[in-house]
Amino acid sequence: MFDIKHIKERFLRILLLFLVSVYLFAVDATLKIEKDVEQRTRIAIVDASAIQSSAFFKILLSDFKISGHFLADSIHHNGDLNSNYLLPILKSKEYVLKYALIEHAGAKLIVRLLKASDSTEVFKKTYAIPTKDKIAFLAHKAISDVNDVLKYTDISWINRYVVFSRYTKPRHSEIVLADYTFNYKKVIISGGLNLFPKWADAAQKSFYYSAYSGLMPTLYKINIYTGAKEKIVTSEGMLVCSDVNKNGSKLLLTMAPQGQADIFEWDIATRNKTQITKFNGIDVSGKYVDDESRIVFVSNRLGYANIFKKAIHSGTVSQVVYHGKNNNAVDAFADKIVYSSRESKNSSGTHTFNLYLTSSMDSLTRPLTTTGANQFPRFSTDGSVIQFIKHRGRGSSIGYTNLASHQSLLFPLSGKKIQSIDW
């Protein structure tokens, strides 16, 4: 006959085991909080500056939005910085960020983060920079710190420089530094034909670039703080640094020592090059993938530009993408691959280029964009966000897509067309 007592005890054991599992999951979840859409932290921003700037307010909003962790109120509230009084309407939020921006010789930003329920101050900090042109970085640093204080996953990428090149007139270009919103821009190298900038180190002290003066292109490395310039290599025909390994000791170069462009790995210390691809057509844009044991690259070996993968030290090349008529831009992070694919002409007669995310480990692919010509995909240093350039009609924007929250931001781009960009 049934032993009721035994069945009940067994049920309790299973129930307790389930509860312990739930508890352990909850503990793991608090160590690294990723918020889904419905549970992003609701936050309002209160401006206590003597002279208020809607442009600066919008930078704060953008930082909150692209983090994927906050639902920021878009209303530009005013208030007193030091008072703990909060308007009743703000009490529906979880946090309120009060700030005061003071611009004098340089700029100073004071922020206070208060709990909306009881005005408890949970964070206060002052930031200062000696020149006003970098004011956007004050906002980025403050929001990055607020994010850290609330123990959300790191978003420090918003503090980083973007470096890009743009043509100024035929066979002339300039290389420019910017913040991720392009509010800050500064020309670093002007004059001549200097292209394809690529950060040399995680600290962003130097970048590589190709100089096309004279008969042969030359790869240089320049320190953005001292201006010190180091010649790396010269190669007939073309020379581009497409990737740098994690410790900065090796580069992936597209070079053409015999007039035929292939991908090489360049050892900085020994100045030796290892040829990775050998193909009589076009192989370009090599990017490290799979712990730097392989590269993905663009090749026309099937008669049109497509994405392929190859181990650095073995000969087999495998196709990565099986759709699209022209896939001519690629970037990689760990095993994630993003590429730009040319698609059918739209109603206005122009081709669309859409971004797709796939993996080196499987063929699962999902689109990241649906309209416009989306090019220059670039992963952030932590692989969580993809930067890209979108051309639509007569306008262009720099865009960012947060892969976890699926949120995107676009910032208008003015001026000359971007030639190459790194982040």
């Binding site: 932290t41 979880e94 949970v122 609330l150 123990k151 034909l193 073309m238």
Partner: protein
């Protein structure tokens, strides 16, 4: 005994599920109320601005040296530009006369010749620099096939950096898909 276990379980369940709700975590009191002055020193460090206007010693006249009679020719010194289809780098039969004329000039010129590959604006510039180089190499190989010494020629690609026109028309794109030749000075 079992009832006590059930009650204990229910109490535990209540506590754990309330802890699992995704409210923002409480911040330790030690961090509240700090008033740190922080210089964003790395970002604030002054970066350089460099002018590299030494480039431009070459005569970049894009065919305006008076030696060209062809309206769409952007080569110099009597050379004829070679034009290509979209994405192509093969020499079409329609360009054979231009190749022959260029080969003749190279043979009779003492100096070095620079062969410059160019592209329209479609695609990434890195791909276009490689495509431009393929075009330049195709022209060089065609001239070598006429019996000219390969060492007299140097090839370089300018990708999409050197358009002769900027209108968004098929005619303009076709003019930009070209190889130019000129004497090295």
């Amino acid at each position: 005994m079992i009832q006590k276990s059930l009650l204990l379980t229910a109490a535990t369940l209540t506590l754990l599920l309330s802890a699992c709700s995704q409210k923002a975590p409480n911040i330790p009191d030690a961090q509240a109320g700090k008033n740190n002055v922080s210089d964003v020193t790395q970002i604030a460090d002054k970066t350089v601005s460099i002018s590299e206007n030494t480039y431009g010693n070459e005569n970049i006249n894009n065919g305006k040296d008076g030696t060209n009679t062809n309206k769409y020719n952007s080569s110099s010194n009597g050379f004829q530009s070679i034009y290509f289809g979209f994405g192509d780098y093969g020499i079409s039969t329609g360009m054979d006369n231009n190749i022959a004329k260029n080969s003749n000039i190279v043979s009779n010129t003492p100096g070095k010749i620079k062969i410059e590959g160019n592209c329209d604006e479609f695609g990434t510039d890195e791909y276009n620099y490689a495509l431009g180089l393929k075009r330049a190499k195709a022209v060089k190989d065609s001239i070598v096939a006429q019996g000219v010494n390969a060492g007299k020629m140097v090839i370089i690609s300018y990708g999409e950096s050197n358009p002769v026109c900027s209108n968004p028309t098929d005619g303009c794109y076709a003019q930009n898909r070209r190889v130019d030749l000129r004497l090295v000075k």
